[in-house]
């Protein structure tokens, strides 16, 4: 598959997956999230609170131009961002370890299960559910009031000494897995 130009990218169909960054401190992490969002062709990055916004030189160093292709929007208050997404029909998950969190694999299965099937002019279409994931600050994670607003929590099972990974790595793993589930449901549509 060839590379797309930024114009082609903007016009192309995106997966209905939105990444919300709740007060992520590091410009490098935000840049890396943009780069993964471009690669997975998801629809939008929502920057909240202390997150830096494009244009920004440090962000550009890791985004390498993906901040031009991927749509983004800024909210001062993350709770407003979550409410707006829910009003648009999104299921919003905080990526956090919580008592009732589901694993990423369970979340991917849900994504596939909740696909809507449509038949238009005898052609079958599968529409994945509108999904948003919220990732939090490098040290403090997703704010509790944001977690409380969300429709659930997704957790990546961890087996080590730390119980936390870098936020751009975590975002990348969740984006890969959920976008893969959405694409599989769409029958491999890219």
């Amino acid at each position: 598959m060839g590379r797309m130009t930024i114009d082609q990218y903007r016009k192309a169909d995106k997966l209905p997956l939105t990444v919300v960054l709740d007060n992520v401190r590091s410009q490098h992490n935000i840049g890396a999230v943009f780069r993964t969002a471009d690669a997975m062709r998801i629809e939008r990055v929502v920057l909240c609170g202390i997150c830096c916004c494009p244009p920004n030189q440090e962000l550009h160093k890791t985004a390498l131009g993906a901040e031009e292709s991927v749509e983004w929007i800024y909210y001062k208050d993350t709770t407003e961002a979550v409410k707006a997404l829910q009003a648009e029909g999104y299921t919003v998950y905080a990526v956090e370890q919580a008592h009732d969190s589901m694993t990423l694999e369970e979340a991917a299965e849900q994504c596939t299960m909740h696909n809507a099937q449509f038949t238009i002019h005898n052609a079958q279409f599968t529409i994945p559910p509108k999904t948003a994931i919220v990732l939090g600050h490098e040290v403090f994670g997703v704010q509790q009031e944001v977690v409380d607003l969300c429709d659930g929590c997704i957790e990546i099972p961890q087996y080590g000494t730390k119980h936390s990974m870098n936020v751009s790595v975590t975002a990348g793993i969740v984006m890969y897995r959920l976008s893969g589930a959405m694409r599989a449901a769409e029958g491999g549509k890219s």
Copy 2:
């Protein structure tokens, strides 16, 4: 599941998955790889060429101590590292886009398919195949002579304008997926 101490971690069973870093430039990226390696409890990180080694202050900033829990070794020459792993029975994959690369999902299936089944004292054990993945320099990728030595290439399908993601994000996605396949084959053993 509670957090382990570094001592408990060192004594615990690891998945037979090794990550080889072929001349990765950024200390932050190397640190983030250590942190994911700790979380997935894989056995080893192999640092090659210009990669910095612990103890290193910049590396520590992103590894946050995972460089203490995860075993590592240094090779000046990446080809020597790959040859040594192959001599130990590892299948070594470069994470690179190539004509004959398999997708990460195909690689995960292979991991599961090649599990060895053992029965000892009427208890069944499943041993995942020894697997190593090689990730390359931020700009130049894995060296061609290293790719040529490897047993195959693994590629993460990408749909955007860039066709490359941050190396620590890429490493994280591949570690998550392959270690997940190994754990599923082991029947959820953590």
